[in-house]
Amino acid sequence: MHLIPQSASHFHLLVSIFPSIGLIFLLGFYVTALVTGDAATKRGCLLLFGILGLLTIPTYLSGDRSMAVLSRDPKISQDLMSTHFGWGVTSIALLALTGAAALIELWRSRHVERLSNDALHLVLGLAIVSLILIAVTGEVGWEINHHELRLEAAPQRTPQAWSHVHIILNHFPTVGFVFALAFYVAGLVVNNVVMTRAGLVLFVICAILGVPTYVTGAASMWALTGVPGISRAVINAHRDMALLTLFGLAFTGVGAWIELWRFRHLGRFSNRSLYLVLLLAIITLGVMAETGHRGGQINHPEIRVATDILPTDPKLGWSPAIESLINHVIWFVPWQTVHFFGFSLIFGTVLAVSLRVLGFWKSMPFSAVHRILPLGVFGVVMNVFSGMLILFADSARYLNAPTFAPKTALITIGAIAVLYFSLSERLWTVKAGEEAPMSAKWVAALVLLSWAGVIMGGRLIPYV
């Protein structure tokens, strides 16, 4: 297998995800910088907008060359390619303009302390419009090569909607990780707390997004089973790496979350823990790159080269071995029990913290209930691993249950919303006898409802 692109199409697939999905994460960092007013983070974001603007050049050139190559392929629709090209040129021109505006402001303000608010808002507006246009471009882009998205559902064991979601979703943890790492390293180098915390938050979000990515990946496997030209052995090679990625994401995410939690209580980071998170993130990114490459091999024959040796035996690999092991009922039983204990820990923690925020037990300051949050986070870790093993046992049945998709979506929403409890400055300063701010109450209600929905969605699987 080769990770370094050897064709324009391969290069285009890789480079185009940065100006598109990367822009979402950069906008997240940028909004954080505008809200916190941190000048170093604002400048870091402007520089990254400039880099994304420059990336539009290789994106355009590689896209133009792939179009020339793919136009000879009778399976590729010329109309779709022309539509993608039209939207693509418009969106990357606007992104290049965003990058230019960001770099000009950076250059203009090099000798002054303060950045111009008008320029910052102009960059924000241009970036949002670019993102909308890029979303349309990307959607048309997937359709060029992913013919399976238009297949009839009947012969497959799960709907193709899962494949579609997986194709989009898998880029979020991967590209997000690159941006998180960039901000995290910059934060460590310039010793900036906002950048370091923003990097840690994004590591946690990427880890949470790893769950729906893995689940939709498992569903896509069934949706692609039996589709001509798609090898189950190649899918299994991708699954094996995805499993390692899930572990890497979980360890990095938990490490990052613990640092955020500890920072809240102590007001400083532990250098040893920060470098441990960095090491875990670098290893995970390496594994994720290989996972992504193996995923690309499944349905992108145009990126394969003559020296690529693809696996041919669908029974080889860790994933089929775990599937076989967990299907011997005895191995299944303890993990079901662990899964229920995990939910007890999560819901118990969420209930206590949310009820304090909603106005119960006012004799306690918020910081006292914040102390118990690790219990819930460890419950999430328990359930990600036990849930993954349970999913392995009979994935097609679980994935076709009508309550499984809402359950997965609610896990993502509930877990991301919990981050608010460790990030909000206003909530942290709520003393004994004080009411929490109204925004915190809305988040607490969302967290509580999400996790209640997760439990109900899980329990309903065998019955609906």
């Binding site: 039983v333 204990f341 006292a368 102390r371 690790p374």
Partner: protein
Amino acid sequence: MEYDNTAIIFMVIAVVACVLGLTFFGVYCLNKIVDRNVRASGSAREP
């Protein structure tokens, strides 16, 4: 391979005890670290 009920119950208790034991130990250690640091610095950052 066949297992009797006792073996299954023992297996469930062993796995759950290990997982929950690790979890509670992790939470204990984290809170201990916070307490120690708060004591060492002399002032709690907690409101």
